[in-house]
Symmetry: C3
Subunit: 493 residues, 3 copies
């Protein structure tokens, strides 16, 4: 505490103190007084952040392109101090079910997009239209996808004859699927703890910790801005780097990051990025960076060195993406709504295509919207590439979407035959479609291999289109499925 | 355009203007005038490059070791200006079938090794002897390898009983194997496009875009210097970094980069390289860098801090490599010619070994040449390691070549038995040797696991020699092949 | 040599010369005189190291927290010169069986933890209690684990009916398992070599080169400090970076590094670490670094910016780890002794648990010790995270340990049934438990998938808990094992 006072000299002026020249609210000073000793890491992290060195008032004075703040009606008491602990953790105390009394303040643990929206309202609004914000419900409330989750996360035991599946428990889901999709964070009660500052009461949260993109928060909001802007620096630089996206987009189901690494863009990024400027707003193409990162193509505001806008900032990640190549089960035009639980195909399944691949158009974006999004992405490409180059790239990509869908269809047909012949039990028998060997092979056909091939094409990292979970496996897996069926049927076909 | 004039003040002196003190040809100025707005990214990239800041004349004045240019007879009009857009994109217009009229210039789209050879003739010559420059034909014109390609890239459908294979189509190959091997780029016609500068005519190219190492160019040349020196900075620093090689040498078939990452060299590189100098020519071992990258061992001119040459620069990548450990099907001494389509084994197959592993010596380098190349590599090793260390390393490596070849042979013998017993249809039946389950397992034995084990040994990254696609799989796969055969034969052996 | 004299001006003062202001022993000067030309890379590496720029005497004068040296009784002749070639390579010549006469010095090749202990005695002592230091014997002298090694590294041949396994040979083991575990380095004789300095005699070493963590050295000691502090800079900065640990902790058996990369900690590290200070001692959390690396959580001395100690430095890597989640075969409390060959379970097998999972408590740490270690780790977590966060993380982790052990048990039960039914030959038949298909699937269940799931939980990188060798495979593999058994038994169950 003494140490704190020595290093952080404050000059009190009507509830505001100045730290290193920046106005800090009295409330935040109180937080820091203890927390610089209790949780020194995050206090230090925050101190080095932009939040600690600019007031919303000053931020609003920047010219439109340079501004990182988008709300115009920021409350006066927040406007004139830097964004410290109290500014976020004490906002709207009644809304947050995890609010608790803490040294005279009504503090909540889980800061949410609703809190961030006070200053970043445009981004928060865009994010609501982002599929990611619905990642919890889109998985948990879709019976087909939830069935897949149970087949992955459910405990199994062997009774001497059969494998007995259990439903997935909350801890296991939080350690697996919901790590990225987001957990449901709920207040389960309050607990007293002996701390270095005496006995204190804290809320007990289920589904905590979690930073998933579709986290259900105690204030009812969805998502976590810290998924990509990690606490407590909330840096735009971090969000622009591919390691951020890699946290959830690297696995065999969605190998976007891996594809990027072996693309020419990734090659240049990994060779050169230490000389680039990841903090500059707006992001000047060719000057601040020389090859795109995930953010450059999918989210960032990009300008050329004369200030011409090449792409507007968006936090709706499919704003520049016409097709949803993360095939569940087939690639298809993007859903219209971020809430995909409303989708039903002809067979009544909550899937954006039929089991044989035809898209369920009424829930998906129109050809005109496809064209619009494609044009937005092409404009980014064309900042460095000629029209011929970009057209060639897209022609190839669309061919690959068709190729990978067709290879999925071949697998589906083998599966349907297995169900028909009784070699496995499927939809018609009311059984899970994910619990038998051939069903798991079928899942890998689309979830691993077809996805891999499409990401490889979209971002031009061909390893994942060839031997690294790519076409080699698409092809081999079909043969494996057929062999399994043949062994199962005892050689009879 | 106005913006351009403001930031890029030119002083015209007889067709040459000065930009930031550097002489830029009038033609290049014209290009930049529009392209700094049309494709700002690449113009900015070029501006920061060495090409934009040195004339060939000045480059030739450097001492021999520091020189990055190797031609002595550079035309006078090129000598006195920096290497800009027009210097490369308007060279030899008649040779390039993709040449088109563009604002009064005869421009070609695809810059090729023949263009680069004007200043970098020695490197271009060496590259012609590089297996990589023949990567297109070596794959496409070898019926065995092309058969493998078709089994990977060919679309399959299921007719209710069998899988029907199609031949691979051009888009799919370009998104898969030919991404690295290179496509055949051909002019398919010309197209008019409405542009921000009015209507313009452009060539339509097949196989475009592509940066593959053996690309067949519209001027008849093979390869793309931009594979490793990416446009439009053409940086030597990028080519020296392992992320460049990773683009094509990371997959399970050729995991060189992955092995490097888990080697001690990779450990040091990833921990320390931000303090190293990747631009300095010649590359001073111990001073400019402390652990080798791919380029250091295989390509770069290396000197010690007194200027003693440790290794000469080479663009023939096997110049310091005696054995071709990328086993197709077995590891063997390197082929004499970069064109491997000329090779025939005793059985008439276009393979450098017999199906049972014996090398077809007359097409492969001699023991004396093996020794010479090994010595070149050892000299690099010995700049940091003692003789005993290096001998130990090579003894182990040669043992591993034998081990992996023997494990491949065991797999081949199981396959031959499967063919003999009619469990699968192979060469004797005129059938593809890549389309059945056991054949695919056999391919993985050499293409994935044996290759992995050898790269792991060569570069001392043992993960890939043990559990990461290494010996664990070499061993397990043999058992899988045998089980498959036994199931297929219904328990009969 | 002349060059050397020019760049390295020496002022001789009673056996000590000054190079760049630092006192270098006469012996080391003599080494450098030749080796700056013979092995320029390592001399340059050393010159830039801390060893070359500080004497033990000066190092001892630093305050306790800043000190990187821990011995108090350093011999006087070593105290007053920097730590050069001779200081390490000529220590205790009689102890080292690889000592040889070299230009008038008694030099040994293999510098060992006993040599380093002269100045770093505390670290060397701690390392002796590190499981890693026993990695050679713990593998080679445990018949079960050695059986696994033989099944991986042993050459196989196919005799037309069966696969014939050979024992693993030394070269193959050194290229595989023993690369990380360490080889046994023994003097096999001496050899004369023609060198640029004339004919010279050198020892011939088996198991060389090697940097494995449990290397058996010619002086009888175990381990290699250069595993993590690579020669010849021996940098603390390198040891603190995750690329160092990745060399041996990245494979599918122990994917700690891969998990780190996709964790939030890894995200921040890869996005921000180029701005951090990896050299500062003690390591100031929040200031020198903002997200932990492997070393931060498991080894480093950590303080906050007021100098409060958060964690003491340790070279016993499980000092802050209660559970051994590298399950062989099940996760369990850490062994008491670093020598695990002394462990016997009830069935007499050298395993820390029964085949059905119960830990063999008498060889494992007590609940009190578990609690103590957990508290040490929690203190590190709590420097940035709240108590609720940390408790949630640990509750989840312990659930995952149980989950993964239960999924391993299910696999074991299927295996036991296969043995019982005669579908495979196991322990009861005196056969290897690693050589049949179902046994290899069983190994993957714990060695790859259960391990992956646990590391993913411990370090919060959920990709490896879900689809990347995680729960998807835990689940699918059980089904595969059961299918194999069913096919093998011809449909009979």
């Amino acid at each position: 505490m003494l140490a704190f006072l020595l290093t952080f000299v404050l000059l009190l002026l009507g509830g505001v103190a100045y730290s290193g020249g920046y106005p800090v609210s009295e409330a935040t000073q109180t937080c820091i007084e203890c927390h610089s000793e209790v949780t020194p890491g995050i206090v230090a992290d925050w101190r080095a952040s932009l939040h600690a060195r600019i007031t919303p008032e000053a931020a609003l004075k920047k010219d439109k392109l340079s501004r990182e703040i988008s709300s115009s009606n920021i409350p006066n008491d927040l406007k004139k101090v830097v964004v410290g602990c109290a500014e976020c953790h004490t906002l709207n105390p009644k809304l947050h079910k995890d609010t608790f009394e803490h040294n005279g303040f009504k503090v909540h643990v889980v800061v949410t997009p609703k809190d961030c929206a006070v200053c970043h309202s445009v981004e928060a609004k865009q994010y609501e239209k982002n599929l990611m914000s619905h990642a919890y419900a889109n998985l948990m409330n879709n019976p087909v996808y939830h069935g897949l989750l149970d087949s992955v996360d459910g405990l199994q035991s062997f009774d001497g004859k059969r494998l007995i599946y259990s439903k997935a428990d909350v801890h296991t889901m939080a350690d697996s699927c919901l790590y990225c999709h987001g957990t449901k964070v709920e207040v389960k009660g309050f607990v007293s703890r002996e701390t270095s500052m005496g006995e204190m009461k804290f809320p007990v949260l289920s589904g905590w910790p979690n930073n998933g993109v579709g986290r259900i928060n105690p204030d009812g909001s969805m998502g976590s801005c810290a998924s990509c802007h990690p606490r407590h620096s909330f840096s735009i630089a971090v969000a622009r780097k591919p390691a951020t996206c890699a946290e959830c987009h690297k696995g065999p189901d969605v190998p976007a990051y891996k594809v990027y690494v072996v693309s020419k863009h990734g090659n240049i990024y990994y060779s050169e990025h230490s000389n680039w400027n990841f903090k500059h707003v707006p992001w000047v193409l060719g000057k601040d960076f020389k090859a795109p990162t995930c953010a450059a193509c999918h989210a960032s505001l990009l300008v050329d060195e004369y200030g011409n806008v090449i792409a507007e900032r968006t936090h709706q990640m499919n704003d520049r993406i016409p097709y949803r190549i993360f095939g569940l089960i087939y690639a298809h035009p993007h859903p219209k709504s971020a809430d995909t639980t409303i989708i039903k195909n002809k067979a009544g399944l909550p899937l954006p295509t039929k089991l044989t691949g035809e898209p369920v158009s009424k829930f998906l974006i129109s050809p005109a919207e496809i064209e619009k999004r494609r044009k937005r992405m092409e404009k980014v490409c064309m900042a460095c590439h000629s029209t011929g180059w970009v057209e060639g790239q897209f022609a190839r990509f669309e061919k690959t979407i068709k190729f990978s869908n067709d290879m999925t269809l071949a697998a589906t047909k083998i599966l349907l035959k297995a169900w028909e012949k009784g070699a496995a039990k499927g939809l018609d028998k009311g059984d899970s479609i994910f619990n038998e060997a051939i069903e798991k092979m079928w899942v890998e056909q689309w979830l691993f291999y077809a996805n891999s091939v499409r990401f490889a094409s979209a971002m031009a990292g061909a390893d994942y289109g060839a031997f690294a979970n790519g076409r080699w496996y698409l092809s081999k897996n079909l043969q494996k499925m057929l062999d399994w069926l043949s062994f199962k049927l005892g050689g009879k076909k």
